[in-house]
């Protein structure tokens, strides 16, 4: 199977959907002539021309709103945000208009728009550029939110997102763009709302999304070799819809849970998931549900401190050790 980067996988997904459906267009800052601020759209202008690959001014509220308006007439815009942090200047469009138009029109109007771009810290770009708004956006009914963690998922989820008739917001990660993974040559899609079991284990369930899945897998390796703990790792892939059944299944199996995300802890995505687990699998829990999130302060610029601020394998490991009896080590 070919091994390609996460970046290339998204590029391939966009190209395949541009080929499949002439209503698909790409729009965003620097997506065309510059080939993408992170080169995700590299080569698309050359292949598809300026009618379909469109550079916008730095005007997020304007061009996102424009994409929403165009989608109401049947265009399927895939909008790039250079960073999801920039969504905050377009919040009225992203939340009020995109999410509500179908409901408020009694189902008469659809909004088949995709907004995609990186949403992550860990690159020393400071507090304004490091937001991970999947929690903020998934609180709004009418929206769908996906957070792919691998090249394979990025491609399959992106294609499903573009074909969806409702707004789907895809949160990527600049630290994953260069990561390589196996991606089949033949076409495939991944349904939204289907989690992926990345590692089987019996002692504890580590549930994560986005890049935190990769960190959870590193932690699981350390736990196995250093502590003799057999961790299961579940990748949510999609926040809304959410694969509740997969979450409950792993909890029922291991009876211990650590939830990992890059969100800040208060009202993070995992707060909702923790609520759901205690509500639906209370009797299966042998220990309190634990969370590993980013440290609750604005994102710090200083590189060594930011590494401490966002979840890492050692923090996951020590949190697992808080709830896993050492006796399991013997």
């Amino acid at each position: 199977m070919p091994v390609i980067t996460y970046r290339q996988a998204i590029n391939d997904a966009l190209a395949e959907e541009l080929d499949r459906d002439e209503k698909v267009i790409i729009m965003g800052e620097e997506v065309a002539e510059y080939d993408g601020a992170y080169k995700v759209t590299e080569g698309l202008l050359k292949r598809y021309g300026p009618k379909r690959i469109i550079d916008t001014p730095i005007s997020e509220a304007g061009f996102i709103g424009l994409g929403i308006g165009a989608s109401m007439l049947g265009i399927r815009p895939v909008m790039e945000l250079m960073f999801w942090s920039f969504a905050y200047v377009a919040f009225d469009q992203i939340v009020n208009n995109a999410a509500n138009i179908r409901y408020m029109s009694g189902g008469l109007i659809h909004c088949p728009i995709v907004i995609r771009g990186p949403a992550n810290g860990g690159t020393s770009v400071g507090a304004t550029h490091s937001h991970t708004p999947e929690n903020i956006l998934s609180t709004t009914p009418g929206l769908k939110i996906v957070c792919p963690s691998t090249a394979y998922d990025a491609k399959g989820l992106m294609k499903s997102a573009i074909r969806d008739n409702d707004p789907v917001y895809v949160m990527e990660n600049t630290l994953l763009y260069g990561e390589k993974g196996e991606v089949p040559e033949e076409e495939y899609t991944i349904p939204l709302g289907k989690a992926a079991l990345k590692r089987e284990g019996s002692d504890v369930s580590i549930i994560a999304h986005g890049r935190c899945v990769q960190i959870a897998l590193q932690a699981a390796e350390i736990l196995e070799t250093e502590d003799g703990i057999d961790a299961e790792v579940l990748d949510l892939r999609s926040i809304r819809p959410l694969d509740e059944e997969a979450i409950l299944q792993t909890v029922r199996k291991t009876n211990r849970v650590v939830l990992v995300e890059e969100n800040k802890p208060f009202c993070g995505t995992d707060a909702q998931i923790a609520y759901m687990i205690q509500d639906k699998a209370f009797d299966y829990l042998d220990a309190p549900i634990k969370r590993v999130s980013s440290i609750d302060a604005p994102q710090i610029y200083s590189m060594p401190l930011e590494k401490i601020q966002i979840p890492d394998a050692q923090r996951i490991r020590s949190t697992v050790l808080e709830i896993c009896p050492i006796s399991s080590n013997t």
Binding site: K51, A61, G69, G74, S105, G106
Partner: protein, 367 residues
């Protein structure tokens, strides 16, 4: 999307004519048949009588939340939409009842929507500020000031992208022009040469704050200069003036694929919403506008002068409109509220079309 390289047609700014019907002899008006003029008058009257009836329903406690009446501004919605062709579209803000009736929505579906009934245009899910009828090229009804302006640019973008000879008329109020997104929309419209017409309905007050207290420059349309967009100021009380100047903008959109900003001088006779003590303006000012600039009366007088309307016909049209409004109130009264299961419908397309569903997992979090 190619950038514009040349500046195309650009009318010079003119001061607003205070004389009525300065554009009565514009070809787009002189070509109107007697029957067409009567229909235009009928629409003005229908909107007026409908809204008067909604006010009664509101006072009876049948309408929730807000009720932003369009009374006094009718010539704008009726005049502009009377020019629409098959690929011309409309989107507006929250004072949307007039535009809705003007594009052909029925009083029944509008009154029922106001009362939150299942028979409403949005099944009772939108309310006063959120009327929609995409089958009539009417894209709402938007509650957030200025929030509809990039959507209007997007509709125009889609028309241009699909190579249709059409335009989007995007209405906004004088209060909206200070919202950032309006300027982003104007920039995109100018930059990408979008066939969008931004129609600023300047009724002089953004809620309770006068134009002078809101805007550093009170020549609102002139802001279009910053975006290299043609602009115009129009007497919005005059049906003929509204039509003549809007037609020029529609032709610019159709033939040159260029945007226009039109500022229409108008006045709302009622408060911002129903609960408004109107401390911010003199009663005498309101009375003066009602006496001298009521767009329904002005057009009525014009058509009497033209021997198109007679006293009998005026009476008949008004009686019919009043009866139609009354029937719509009865229709709304007798209509059911949406059943509880409607709460979760029309949220996600896939949930309403399960035969086409590809997603899995939990999408609602009510349990």
């Amino acid at each position: 999307m190619s950038k514009k390289t040349t500046s195309k047609s650009r009318p010079t700014a003119k001061s607003v004519s205070t004389s009525q019907n300065s554009e009565a002899n514009a070809p787009i008006n002189t070509k109107l048949s007697k029957e067409e003029k009567i229909e235009i008058y009928r629409n003005l009257v229908r909107i007026r009588r409908f809204e008067e009836r909604t006010l009664r329903a509101y006072q009876q406690g049948k309408i929730g939340g807000f009720l932003h009446l369009y009374i006094g501004q009718e010539a704008i919605a009726v005049g502009t939409t009377s020019l629409m062709g098959p690929d011309d579209h409309v989107i507006t803000a929250y004072r949307d009842h007039g535009h809705a009736l003007a594009v052909g929505m029925s009083m029944n579906e509008c009154m029922a929507e106001l009362q939150g009934k299942h028979t409403g245009c949005s099944k009772g899910k939108g309310g006063s500020m959120h009327f929609f009828a995409p089958d009539k090229n009417y894209w709402g009804g938007h509650g957030i000031v200025g929030g509809q302006t990039p959507l209007g640019a997007g509709i125009a973008f889609a028309l241009k992208h699909e190579e249709k000879k059409g335009c989007c008329m995007c209405f906004l109020g004088d209060g909206a022009v200070n919202q950032g997104v309006v300027h982003e929309s104007l920039n995109l419209a100018g930059l990408w040469e979008l066939p969008v017409i931004y129609i600023i309905e300047n009724n002089q007050y953004s809620m309770g704050t006068s134009l002078e207290r809101s805007s550093a420059s009170t020549m609102l349309a002139k802001r279009a200069d910053s975006y290299d967009i043609a602009w115009e100021q129009v007497n919005g009380h005059s049906l003929y003036d509204v039509r003549a100047k809007t037609w020029e903008a529609i032709e610019r959109a159709h033939n040159e694929c260029l945007p226009t900003v039109i500022e229409m001088a108008t006045y709302r006779h009622r408060g911002h919403s129903v609960s408004d003590n109107e401390k911010y303006r003199d009663k005498e000012e309101t009375e003066k506008y009602k006496r001298t600039s009521d767009p329904v009366i002005l057009f009525q007088d014009t058509l009497i002068d033209e021997k198109v309307l007679t006293e009998d016909l005026i009476k008949k049209i008004n009686t019919e409109a009043r009866e139609e409004a009354e029937k719509s109130a009865q229709f709304a009264d007798q209509s059911p509220f949406p059943p509880e299961e409607e709460l979760l419908k029309d949220v996600y397309w896939e949930e309403d079309n399960p035969e086409h569903k590809t997603s899995q997992g939990k999408i609602f979090f009510n349990d």
